[in-house]
């Protein structure tokens, strides 16, 4: 294990965290404007629909929001305590620990290895990106974290507990287009997990779903069935479905791959805005380095089939030049093998 940190600041700790926080507060929900500017180098045009989107007050979410506030207070109290404690105490318990996990598929009588002894930690509230060549096992890893695929070696721990099957605390956006039950309208598709997991009642779920459909630009298609949508629209429904759940952990497998540049950017902003609100933990697969740098706090690079960890980079709080350098670094790594 030849870990060599390539950024000087190691445990920047509480102070850095507070700086970061101020920066974020300044930038408001939209995330760091600098970030947006250099990620989308070609255009800095303000996105129209962000303004519109803030309008609905979403009264049906109030009860939950109150709970959230209480949590936030508790978290703040914890954070105050944290100032005195050594920094690693606060960060010791990762939300997700993937511990030397190998994933195998059985084919006829043999088994085929998708990932080989992959290990990484995802901290609470972290946006963690998986990058790697096609077929290197990113989707398999995501499915394993989602509880759909048992690890044939190693363990997957969620808050220190081994995962025991799928659940709505880890909402997933899959890579395939056929993830929407075809017998539900677009609206019901988004509302259904909310009622199924008993998060909201039917009326509340539909209101909330309608709101999210508007956010992904599909308000006009609420009554349509999935087979009447284009590929990108289907994926947007899946994204709305996942985001509407505001889960503690979100798994997204190339969610924006089928979207045009503009829609993609809007979706990224929606994602980041929701993250600002909810601070969920995000595991995000993409094949766009640019997107990885834009979305991720940390980026894990996997080597080709079978996937093994090649590198893990910090991607938060970089300036434009650092970002460019990191992008090139990652590209180099991906080209290597």
């Amino acid at each position: 294990m030849s870990a060599r940190p390539d950024v000087v600041e190691r445990w920047s700790g509480v102070n850095a965290g507070q700086d970061e926080a101020r920066r974020l507060r300044l930038a408001g929900h939209a995330g760091d404007p600098a970030e947006v500017a250099d990620a989308d180098a070609v255009s800095g045009t303000p996105l129209k629909f962000r303004v519109a989107r803030r309008a609905p007050s979403r009264p049906h979410l109030q009860p939950r929001a109150v709970g959230e506030a209480v949590n936030a207070v508790a978290a703040a109290a914890a954070a105050v305590a944290e100032v005195d404690a050594p920094p690693h105490a606060a960060t010791h318990q990762p939300r997700l620990r993937v511990d030397n996990v190998s994933l195998d598929y059985r084919v006829d009588r043999r088994s085929i290895r998708a990932t080989h002894q992959v290990a990484f930690d995802v901290m609470p509230g972290e946006r963690f990106v998986l990058l790697g060549a096609s077929g290197c096992g990113k989707s398999s890893l995501l499915k394993a974290v989602g509880g759909f695929l048992p690890a044939s070696e190693g363990r997957i721990l969620l808050d220190g507990q081994p995962i025991s099957g799928p659940g709505p605390d880890r909402m997933a956006v899959f890579q395939e287009f056929d993830q929407l039950p075809p017998w539900k309208t677009v609206l019901d598709n988004v509302a259904f997990p909310l009622t199924a997991s008993r998060k909201l009642d039917v009326a509340g779920a539909r209101l909330h779903a309608q709101d999210w459909l508007a956010r992904v630009g599909l308000a006009g298609f609420a009554g349509a069935f999935p087979h009447q949508l284009s590929g990108g629209m289907k994926q947007r429904v899946a994204i709305a479905r996942a985001l509407a759940m505001s889960p503690r952990m979100l798994l997204m497998d190339e969610p924006f791959a089928a979207l045009d540049a503009l829609t993609r950017r809007r979706m990224q902003e929606e994602l980041l805005a929701l993250w600002e609100q909810e601070r969920f933990t995000l595991l995000f697969v993409t094949h766009s380095i640019e997107e990885a740098l834009h979305v991720g706090h940390r980026i894990l690079v996997l080597s080709p089939h079978p996937g093994r960890v090649r590198a893990e980079f910090n991607a938060q709080g970089l300036d434009g030049a650092q970002r460019l350098a990191l992008g090139q670094r990652i590209e180099q790594l991906l080209l290597e093998t």
Partner: protein, 288 residues
């Protein structure tokens, strides 16, 4: 080769064609009519009746195969006298009981089969073993357990409905795409809720075809079984009507009874199964 490189053409920039969505652009009536399958099926029905008439006249054996017109006359007579309707009512009532019970059991068995490996093997063995068993095999059991009468008939009907439907449903359930299963599990659905809210709707095309087959076999079985379980005090259904008329060599009435079976079958197909299909799997794009 290189000369084949495309020639450059000028750019163009247009103001997009205005498009005002004409709110309700209903499909023209004639097109809807042309596509409605009702009249085509009715036409086919008439055509088949014609074929029957011709075949019967060629065979010229009205004791074995009366012409369609004779059967139609008998049908009208007995419908008018109310006898056929009464008998069809008796049969339908039994049929619905047996069918309903069979459907519930079949779906239950399918649910069990999806839940565990043992359940799957159980279903596979049970269907493989019991499905080919003719009704005679069940008569003694039915008699022992239920005696003569409606309950035995329902038992035999359940046997006719259960296996084909369970087979079709479980085949449909096994063919549900993995992604859809994962989506369902992801919602936190497990056990019966998972089956009812994900697997069954996703398997609906198969289930519908199973329901159709089961319906048909329920009819077949009922008409055959009414002979075994008999008619107490003239209360027999359509099967008994057919049997009795056959015994009296009133072949036109026999075929009138069969024609009623055919008509009921066709009506149920048009009014129930087709409609369900149109409102579910077709509408959802799961079937053309």
């Amino acid at each position: 080769m290189s000369l084949m490189a495309p020639v450059r053409r000028p750019d163009r920039l247009l103001d997009p064609q205005p498009y005002v969505p004409t709110t309700a652009q209903p499909v023209p009536l004639w097109q809807r009519l042309a596509e409605a399958s009702g009249w085509r099926q009715a036409l086919l029905l008439v055509l088949l009746a014609g074929l029957w008439e011709v075949a019967a006249r060629l065979a010229d054996n009205d004791l074995l195969l009366p012409p369609c017109s004779a059967a139609a006359r008998a049908l009208v007579t007995d419908l008018a006298s109310g006898e056929l309707l009464m008998r069809a009512g008796v049969s339908l009532q039994l049929l619905l009981q047996g069918y309903g019970l069979g459907v519930v059991l079949a779906l239950g068995l399918t649910a069990l089969a999806t839940a565990t490996r043992w359940g799957r093997d159980l279903l596979a063995s049970l269907t493989a073993m019991f499905n080919p068993l003719p009704a005679i095999a069940l008569l003694p059991l039915a008699l022992l357990w239920f005696g003569l009468g409606a309950r035995s008939l329902v038992f035999v009907l359940v046997h006719a409905v259960l296996w084909p439907l369970a087979l079709a449903a479980s085949a449909g359930v096994s063919a549900v795409p993995e992604t859809l299963r994962m989506a369902g599990r992801n919602y936190g659905l497990t056990g019966p809720r998972f089956v009812a809210q994900i697997l069954l709707p996703a398997a609906l095309p198969s289930i519908l075809s199973g329901l159709r087959v089961a319906w048909a076999f329920a009819w077949r079985t009922l008409i055959a079984a009414e002979l075994f379980f008999g008619a107490s005090s003239g209360q027999g259904g359509l099967g008994w009507y057919i049997f009795q008329n056959r015994n009296e060599l009133m072949t036109d009435h026999v075929f009138a009874g069969l024609a009623l079976v055919i008509l009921i079958g066709w009506l149920v197909e048009r009014l129930v199964f087709s409609t369900i299909e149109r409102w579910t799997v077709r509408r959802w794009g799961m079937q053309r």
